[in-house]
């Protein structure tokens, strides 16, 4: 028997928008609902609130499971590699999603207002976002970003701008200023957000790989410069946060991208910068700086190499032995050594004065 409950027309529209944001129905089916302005009710029926809660909780769990939670993988749990699907390896407390009022406020606003024309704000800066909120807003941003007007309207809003998931998943969206300020990635390294990041490893790999391979289509030097600066800021801070929290397992996706990119072959810098056209900056120094920043991901090779050397130096009786073994196994499985060598050769090709005495350790 199916239980039914009554909702008003406004609530029905709100629920449809929520289902579209979560990918249950195509977003274009609710485009007109989003762009229509109507008067919101004084309050929502308890039935509707319960349905929103249920849709949110189930929708995000389904998203995480589909993104990678179903995979039988190993991640670190308290410095110890733990195998299994996400529901087997992560304790219940860490995979229980909670939400603040923010998603509901956002849905009310999105249903009632025209997002690009209204001056009414919906977010409360004072309340802290939960892990569930952050993931919801990332998914919502993803669903809405195909519409340029909506994309512009939301990009600068706090729940998206200060959302570490948004920066990691759509790095190029934030390459609009010369000095981007990514939010702290430290919260992603613990608790529920870390569980989410474990599930998101595959989509992150896919997105960064797509972004790297599409760089050769960028013709404008200024766009490339901003893109490089944003990506360098994101990757540097993200890898630093992972290292500080001893969660190198969460930072495997950039190494996975590098490994897929090089895959035993050498790549010329033109793979990234081959599309840059005329109107280059006059100064050679500036041109080289832009070319280097275009290879922002490749430049992280030194960090992975350093992590590997540190892992090799951990002895059997030392603290963190299991975690270091885990890193070494993952590094070798991704052909880390060969990948890093290829990455360094690619970077060296960008240096017009590169002089080397040969392989091996250099000084100092």
């Amino acid at each position: 028997m199916t239980a039914t409950c009554e909702v008003t027309r406004f609530e029905f529209d709100l629920l449809r928008i929520l289902r579209a944001l979560l990918g249950v129905i195509p977003i274009h089916q609710v485009q007109s609902l989003i762009l229509n302005k109507r008067t919101p009710p004084a309050c929502l029926n308890p039935n509707a609130v319960a349905l929103v809660k249920d849709t949110l909780a189930k929708g995000l769990i389904l998203y995480l499971v589909r993104a990678g939670g179903w995979r039988d993988e190993a991640f670190l749990q308290k410095d110890t590699p733990t195998n299994g699907r996400v529901w087997n390896r992560v304790p219940l407390a860490e995979r229980t999603l909670t939400f603040s009022r923010k998603p509901l406020d956002f849905l009310l606003w999105l249903t009632a207002e025209h997002p690009t024309q209204t001056k009414v704000e919906w977010y409360r800066a004072s309340t802290e976002s939960t892990a569930g909120d952050d993931l919801f807003f990332q998914i919502a941003f993803d669903a809405l970003r195909d519409d340029p007007e909506l994309f512009d309207a939301f990009r600068s809003k706090s729940p998206f701008l200060n959302n570490p998931f948004s920066w990691l998943m759509n790095a190029s969206d934030f390459a609009t200023v010369d000095d981007p300020a990514p939010p702290s990635f430290a919260p992603l390294m613990t608790g529920t957000r870390a569980m989410m990041l474990e599930c998101l490893q595959a989509p992150l790999t896919k997105r960064w790989l797509r972004s790297e391979t599409a760089k050769s289509e960028i013709a404008d030097w200024n766009i490339m410069r901003r893109r490089g600066i944003a990506e360098t800021a994101i990757l540097t801070q993200f890898l630093k946060a992972a290292e500080s929290a001893n969660r190198l397992d969460l930072a495997l996706f950039p190494l996975r991208v590098l490994s897929k990119l090089f895959a035993g072959r050498s790549l010329e810098p033109s793979f990234w910068i081959g599309g840059l056209m005329a109107d280059a900056p006059m100064r050679l120094a500036e041109r080289i700086a832009i070319q280097r920043s275009a290879l922002s991901l490749v430049q992280q090779a030194d960090t992975f190499s350093r992590w590997h050397q540190q892992a090799r130096a951990v002895g059997y009786f030392d603290e963190g032995y299991a975690a270091s073994q885990f890193w070494k196994e993952a590094y070798e499985a991704l052909y880390g050594g060969a990948t890093i060598t290829q990455a360094r050769q690619t970077l060296a090709a960008l240096d017009p004065l590169r002089v080397s005495a040969g392989g091996g350790e250099t000084f100092p």
């Binding site: 120094a285 240096d351 004065l353 002089v355 080397s356 040969g358 250099t362 000084f363 100092p364």
Partner: protein, 190 residues
């Protein structure tokens, strides 16, 4: 009856303009000896090639508009070109007024002068761009000549370091060097 008056404004701007370009790289020397000893060998080799030591311990060589700076402590190399020029740009602008005196004439003259100043500024910017192009072209040209020299320096320092290292292992009985191929064979008696 009104008469048209032609107002002519002339001006010139003299300015010293300066443009430059710089690139940095790293000499990758093998850690055959201690970093201090490798740095010492590099310092000696650079000294023989006309580099002079500055107060901060870096070695600098100036060749015309090109300055090469090497930090022997970490192998950092900076190559810089600077171009300077004094430019004088002149211009003239004409405007038409219906009065040869009074506020209208003054306004038109001021406007013409303003436009002329902008025009002269553009000319200076053009000169600046030309100078920048020249400085960058000069740097690119010098890089072609400098790259082999830096390779020779690294090679020489590496060979010297190997000789010193070999001497610490035993008595050197024979050293065969091939300058062309860059190969070196050291025989030691332990």
């Amino acid at each position: 009856m009104s008469r048209a008056y032609r107002i002519s404004v002339k001006d010139s701007v003299a300015r010293d303009i300066r443009a430059g370009d710089e690139i940095c790289t790293q000499l990758e020397l093998l850690g055959i000896l201690s970093p201090e000893a490798m740095g010492q060998l590099l310092r000696a080799e650079l000294g023989q090639r006309g580099f002079e030591e500055t107060d901060d311990g870096k070695l600098v060589r100036q060749q015309g508009d090109l300055t090469v700076t090497v930090d022997p402590c970490n192998g950092e190399v900076s190559v810089k070109t600077v171009a300077e020029k004094s430019v004088v740009v002149e211009g003239e602008r004409e405007a038409t007024a219906w009065d040869d005196v009074g506020p209208l004439r003054k306004t038109i003259e001021d406007h013409a002068r303003e436009l002329l100043a902008k025009e002269l500024e553009k000319k200076i910017q053009k000169e600046n761009d030309k100078l920048q192009e020249k400085a960058t072209a000069s740097l690119e040209q010098h890089l072609h000549d400098l790259q082999p020299e830096l390779a020779q320096i690294v090679n020489k320092v590496t060979r010297e370091a190997l000789k010193q290292k070999a001497a610490t292992l035993g008595t050197i009985t024979e050293i065969a060097e091939d300058e062309k191929s860059g190969s070196m064979t050291i025989k030691i008696e332990v």
